[in-house]
Point group: C2
Chain length 517, copies 2
């Protein structure tokens, strides 16, 4: 068992090494940042390709939320500490760690135990943590030294001061999105449900940042909230539209009895009491749909229910979405929570402002909050991890086979050479296409090398302008995956490419096929 | 003179009061945030309409930079203090203030003097500041108390700690964008010029945040850099494409002699030595083009050259773009700087990493940096300020006449009533259009009131589904500015609306005009 795990680990390590160099060298993600100053663990920089890919992910998030009646807002990142006192973060948002008696390094105690035993232990008591360290004879992963027999609690908030007053950087967008509830309620003319979301940076002073951008100290969250009347949680119009969709549900009972997730309709899941309410079930469906729309394949995802012991004290229903990474295995990428009236009650208490809504009959009530919370860094890395491929046989050939409509750069414009008669046409084509496509223009290097570079960056189509273009007013389009080429009139180019990228036209039918040179 | 200024001020104050309530009540910008906790000066929240508008501004920035060969990156916000030591921010990024001896309030000394005298005094010595306070008998604006005879220097960096180490929140994106120069140089295969940009949050511990989002403590910057060989600053291919474009240049000599800006071509400006190099002149043109593309009208902008005394010590050429706000008058909204090799030299010194490039003949050199720096909050507020109009005569009628292609919401979908036969068609239309447009669906309230609400939010077109729609399969489109209505087949709706919003089709020709009911 142990040696099998080691082999798996070795394979993962080999993959991770190659994959990290692909991610860095191809301009996706660099770090830890700032690299020239040695880097600080948990901070990363998205290069030109990575930023475009992350933008595609974020555009997809926006589109999906908007199409489901969520409105985007943007709040501050830095807030006074009374907010975090009310939310509970100041008192309880912390990790437990142990210190190495030799090198004085601090390590998250659940991480170092899980790395050795493979068993989740997040919910151990301090005594259980210390017992596990002793029992498994766990040593410091940096220097091999012994750990002190003591658990430290480290708060994860990054602190600052504004005009001399204690403030903190938000560790999530969620809390800050709840605060303007009165503004929403007025703007939407006193009608519930209200859906809002926010995409933005958050900060956590993690003890041991690890697994690349999976657990960073600064990262981007995308969190959506629905404020609703608790009496209407089972009257959810949009549930009817999706109740027959099939999703891979992994109930906590199945997890405990070692069973796999079951693919079933949302309606069946409701009947089996996997969810308490239709509105919550719809949120789980929407969260799953977010990742499908981002391009994560179905077979890489599962929906995992929280064990009753694992749920936060305020949470009613709680499910996660997990994605399978080649590099790190199954990884939590999204949480969906019924937070009940916990947050509005807390902020009402601390702010002394009434945060309630009114029914048609005039009775006041405290809205409940359903929440979908995920980051955009993990799915961005997931897309790289899933669609990166190194062809072992053809040495040095690296492919990034991301779905065409999500590619960071959609088109390359290549004049065959730097001759002015070619670059003139190529630049004109660039100008006509650049408002419609994410494209790049490149005139240097052999055309073969340029095609290889494009494939490494996942560019679906290369448009090449050659000497025939000057006479026949047509160009070559090369398809990334089939490596086939067709000839298309310049006048038809924009419409043809639009249809190709949308998937409305098959490549073979888009023009006359030519043999690759 | 003094009383005239007061009248102007009163009008501005009246405008500002009405404008602020428009901006808040219509869901654009709320604050100071967090409102339920009393708010902290200099922090704001963008509501559903404000976020959409700011996104339009940011999309425009991205499109314009990308079309001009700049690549977007995303770096951390929090960086270790060695970075800010190298950049000079830790030692010199500060404001001078005076303290009220009565209420102990701290005020930026240049602000309180300028508010009374109207004269810029940013570059006064400490003694000159104190003399100006005495001479003009300036009292504390909060309590009327006397100021202490002492100048305080307050650093503007927001500090934090990461894993116990001193770090700061970036006060600009620029410095952080310089740091991965080696990565860019490798990714772009050793070829200069390299253009990069970043859009993201920055933080400044301002002593007196003021003028709404104009001077906040947390705001969004959009900053672009070109790394180039200093020997090629006058060989700038793209300059040739724009040299005949006319811009409103206000040289420092014209400013000093009380003259207005002169509209002239970029080429004339070069001949008059307003710029030292063609590459820098092109950057000034590009910065101006950014604001034109965002929708700021030409007559609201001017390009102001820095006085030689005012320039930062490292800056070679330095110009600002100013926009005229109804609420605040002429306001700096963008700076364009030739930063020479100052930054790479500093970071090379502090990081001990070589930050240089190599010419074709093998000689090493330090690239220069040309920089365009602006925020996205100021232009967002500028668009609100410029296109907001309160019709005094028709009581309560407020318009937001933003250019159609920049409107936060492009379309409203209105079933005439909540009858299922109408809402069914309306929802189907919504589903078909929502992938193409920023739209909103609303079925409550009288249609007249809904049209008024749409006009207040600047929505260009309202699509109304009425009882004729069920039989004739057509709908009404109402135009915001003309308030006219036409009838269009549902099957033609998407294409018609696309052309209307792009400006490719005139409303009167898009369908059969009908009389408003």
């Amino acid at each position: 068992m142990k040696s099998k795990k080691s082999n798996e680990d070795k394979e993962k390590e080999k993959f991770l090494k190659e994959f990290t160099s692909f991610v860095q060298d191809r301009g996706f993600i660099w770090g830890p940042s700032p690299e020239i100053y040695g880097g600080v663990a948990g901070f990363y920089t998205y290069g030109p390709m990575g930023r475009l890919l992350k933008l595609k992910v974020e555009e997809s998030v926006r589109k999906t939320f908007r199409a489901n009646d969520f409105w985007e807002i943007e709040t501050p990142i830095v807030l006074p500490d009374i907010v975090w006192k009310a939310s509970g973060h100041l008192d309880t948002f912390s990790d437990k760690s142990v210190e190495c008696s030799k090198c004085k390094g601090l390590f998250r105690v659940d991480n170092i135990i899980e790395d050795v035993t493979g068993d989740p232990c997040t919910h151990y008591s301090d005594q259980q943590f210390l017992n596990a360290i002793n029992k498994n004879n766990i040593k410091c992963p940096s220097c091999g030294g012994d750990f002190k027999y003591e658990i430290f609690v480290q708060n994860l908030m990054m602190k600052t001061k504004v005009a001399g007053k204690d403030s903190s950087l938000r560790p999530e967008t969620a809390t800050v999105t709840y605060l303007p509830f009165k503004r929403y309620y007025k703007f939407f003319r006193g009608k519930l449900p209200i859906g809002v979301f926010q995409i933005g940076k958050v900060f956590r002073n993690e003890i041991s940042p690890r697994q690349h951008v999976i657990r960073g100290r600064e990262f981007t969250q995308a969190e959506a909230q629905i404020f609703l009347d608790p009496d209407t949680k089972n009257e959810w119009e949009r549930y009817e539209e999706i109740k027959n969709e099939k999703l891979p549900f992994w109930s906590w009972q199945s997890q405990e009895s070692g069973k796999k997730p079951s693919v079933m309709t949302v309606e069946s899941a409701i009947k089996k009491k996997l969810f308490k309410t239709k509105s919550y079930a719809w949120c789980v469906w929407l969260a799953y749909t977010q990742f499908i729309n981002m391009g994560v394949p179905e077979n890489r995802m599962r929906l995992r229910q929280h064990n009753p012991d694992e749920k936060a004290f305020y949470a009613d229903d709680a499910w996660d979405i997990e994605i399978y990474f080649q590099s790190f295995g199954w990884t939590e990428c999204c949480g969906v929570h019924d937070r009940t009236d916990y947050d509005l009650t807390q902020h009402e208490k601390f702010s002394k402002e009434q945060l309630s809504a009114v029914k048609e009959d005039g009775t006041k009530f405290k809205p409940h909050i359903l929440e979908i919370a995920f980051g955009t860094d993990r799915p961005t890395l997931a897309l790289l991890d899933i669609f990166y491929e190194k062809k072992e046989k053809e040495h040095g050939k690296t492919l990034f086979q991301i779905p065409y409509h999500l590619a960071p750069v959609e088109l390359m414009i290549y004049p065959l050479s730097k001759k002015p008669e070619l670059t003139k046409i190529a630049k004109k084509i660039r100008k006509e296409l650049e408002t419609e496509f994410d494209l790049s223009y490149d005139e240097s290097g052999s055309i073969g090398k340029r095609y290889l570079r494009a494939a490494e960056l996942g560019v679906p189509y290369c448009v090449t302008i050659d000497f025939d273009s000057t006479k026949k007013k047509d160009v070559t389009i090369r398809d990334r995956d089939s490596e086939k080429q067709i000839r298309v009139k310049i006048s038809d180019l924009k419409e043809t490419l639009k249809k190709l990228i949308k998937g409305d036209l098959k490549f073979a039918r888009a023009g006359k096929e030519i043999k690759a040179k």
